[in-house]
């Protein structure tokens, strides 16, 4: 097993943001982390990456405790893209992506041909090869997000954590990112954990799904099992149903929206009920 976490608990002051969280990750596995806002997805990812102190629990990568590893060694095993990272002013896309190689080059070693090739590959994978010289603050939100994804890719870690990587992307780049995740997992054996809001994207790309609610993991299993659990409607407080679109594809969640039942002439008064 590549990564194994048990009983992870994180507290911010009095408030418990994560309790008893567990996760197992095999090489090449894609895991989606879903749940409402504030349910603890980011906290779980940060705790797994050793970025917030855990009040209890363990995280091991191939049997070795993450908390006992140096940051640089850990960075060679695990790349983490935070939810809304901020880059220094005037930094270019290329310079950002180069930082991803720090775990490999360290304090003195200069960037070799391998490093340059990896950087070029990372830029190319997100379609940013032509953007290397552009300052980050001159990019759109989606382009910037892809630059950060490239930086995480340049780390060449076998575990990749992505915290809402599709938020600022248009549907085309969302699909491209999900395809990239899929290829990384299948071709390079990278294990990916990503917090993601689009339930159907999670269902279609993930091998396993963890559902978070109030800091707890209330479901850990395959997409098909989630569909039949009835959890989604409760956790996300929505009405809807899973429909099968194709025989061997994961089912699609079709959510009920108010306006479907509401003709145009609906009065404000009847809305308030």
């Amino acid at each position: 097993m590549l990564l194994h976490a048990r009983d992870l608990t994180v507290r911010y002051g009095q408030r418990t943001a994560l309790s008893g969280f567990a996760l197992q990750l095999e090489p090449g596995e894609v895991r989606a982390l879903i749940g409402p806002n504030g349910s603890g997805k980011s906290t779980a990812l940060q705790a797994l990456a050793g970025l917030v102190g855990a009040a209890a629990g363990r995280v091991e990568i191939e049997g070795r405790s993450v908390f006992a590893m140096g940051r640089r060694e850990l960075a060679r095993h695990l790349a983490f893209l935070p939810q809304q990272p901020v880059a220094p002013d005037e930094m270019t896309v290329g310079q950002l992506v180069r930082q991803g190689r720090f775990a490999h080059v360290g304090l003195f070693k200069s960037y070799g041909p391998d490093d340059e090739a990896t950087i070029a590959w990372a830029l190319d994978s997100t379609g940013l090869a032509r953007f290397a010289e552009r300052p980050l603050n001159a990019l759109s939100g989606g382009e910037r997000q892809r630059a950060w994804i490239s930086a995480a890719l340049a780390q060449e870690a076998r575990i990749l954590f992505l915290d809402e990587p599709t938020t600022f992307l248009d549907i085309g780049y969302q699909v491209e990112l999900l395809d990239l995740v899929y290829r990384l997992s299948r071709e390079r054996g990278v294990a990916v954990v990503m917090a993601i809001h689009d339930l159907n994207q999670a269902m279609s790309v993930a091998d396993r799904i963890s559902v978070m609610e109030g800091g707890r993991c209330v479901f850990d299993g395959e997409p098909g099992a989630l569909a039949s659990s009835g959890l989604i409607e409760r956790v996300f407080r929505v009405q809807g149903r899973f429909v099968d679109l194709a025989p061997d594809a994961p089912p699609h969640f079709d959510v009920d929206l108010l306006r479907r039942h509401s003709p145009v002439g609906l009065t404000a008064q009847s809305l308030s009920h």
């Binding site: 940060q46 640089r72 005037e90 960037y111 070029a120 590959w121 300052p135």
Partner: protein, 346 residues
């Protein structure tokens, strides 16, 4: 796999700056040697520099001008580097050595020291005694280091973040400054001008001992910079990002803070708090480096030396016999430069 992207380190316009700056760093002190309050014919200066010259010219050049220039250059490099390091790790473009209380700590300790020295040596403030001048650099440095250390400990109790550091530094700095001012106000001795001169940042009467005092700090400080190069690049990010890239954030943050504190405190001890050098020079360097971060630090070091040398020369030439302290010159020149830089910042 795609063909290799061109190496991102290549940056021709910025690269060409390096020889220019090295040239200026050598030229500025040379010019400064030739001009001063005492009107020495250029030929005499040249003679001294080549090993000859009259005894008077030798004394003026070797005992007065050169030590002053060297002290200024060392202090300039240190203050500018300290400012750059602080601006980088606090991600605050307005950071300078006063941010971590170094200047104020040095001010307070020098004030206390002078007061004690004056009263213990000389109860009647009308007679002149030899003040223990040679102690001032060490006393100032100690005060600066203690203040920096206190602020570090205050920050450490929380999460050692840039914001904490800034808040603790500003609060502690204001307190130390107020204490020093209180003492000055209550003291009211004729010796106050000694303190005022030190406070305005001055290279007046700086001798070789000041340069010798500073040199180890300059050398050690510059020698560790290559070690800090990559950690500094990562410290420009918020801690979550830096750490996920593999940075030992707390260790590196502390190390950089310590280096900048030592550089600033020793410089302030030797020449007083020369304002604006630590603030403006890194900005100039950043403008010149045009986004090429690894170049900013060497540019900062060179520009620090040049700025102090040129400003001191200006102060000497413009003020005539009553030379203008360099701290006043840097402030007068610094404000328009700062405004010009800000105008071009989006």
């Amino acid at each position: 796999m795609t063909p290799l992207a061109p190496p991102l380190v290549a940056h021709p316009p910025a690269r060409r700056l390096v020889p220019l700056l090295v040239g200026l760093t050598l030229l500025a002190p040379l010019v400064a040697v030739f001009f001063g309050v005492a009107d020495l014919p250029l030929g005499d200066v040249a003679a001294v520099l080549t090993g000859g010259g009259s005894a008077e010219a030798r004394s003026i050049i070797l005992d007065i001008r050169l030590p002053r220039i060297v002290t200024g250059m060392l202090a300039g490099m240190q203050l500018a580097t300290a400012g750059f390091l602080l601006q980088t790790i606090t991600r605050n473009p307005l950071a300078d050595p006063s941010l971590i209380g170094v200047s104020q700590g040095a001010t307070l300790s020098v004030t206390l020291f002078l007061m004690i020295a004056v009263y213990s040596h000389d109860p009647t403030p009308t007679t002149l005694v030899a003040l223990p001048w040679s102690w001032l650099p060490a006393v100032g440095m100690l005060g600066g280091l203690v203040a920096g250390g206190l602020i570090y400990l205050m920050t450490l109790r929380h999460d050692l973040g840039p914001l904490r550091l800034t808040l603790c530094g500003v609060a502690m700095g204001a307190l130390l400054q107020a204490l020093a001012l209180g003492i000055v106000a209550g003291w009211g001795s004729s010796r106050m001008e000694v303190l005022l001169e030190w406070l305005s940042g001055s290279l007046y009467a700086r001798r070789w001992e000041h340069a010798v005092f500073l040199a180890p700090f300059t050398v050690a400080g510059l020698a560790v910079l290559p070690l800090l190069r990559r950690p500094l690049e990562l410290l420009r990010f918020e801690s979550t990002v830096a750490r996920s890239f593999g940075s030992a954030y707390r260790r590196d943050f502390s190390a950089v803070l310590f280096v900048s504190c030592a550089l600033a405190a020793s410089a302030v001890g030797a020449v007083g708090p020369i304002v604006f050098v630590g603030l403006i020079v890194p900005h100039l360097a950043r403008k010149l480096a045009r986004g090429h971060f690894p170049l900013v630090l060497p540019l900062t070091v060179a520009l620090g030396a040049i700025t102090v040398t040129v400003c001191d020369l200006l102060g000497r030439l413009l003020g005539g016999a009553d030379e203008i302290p360099i701290g006043v010159v840097t402030a007068l020149c610094g404000v328009p430069v700062l405004i010009a830089l800000l105008r071009r910042t989006p």
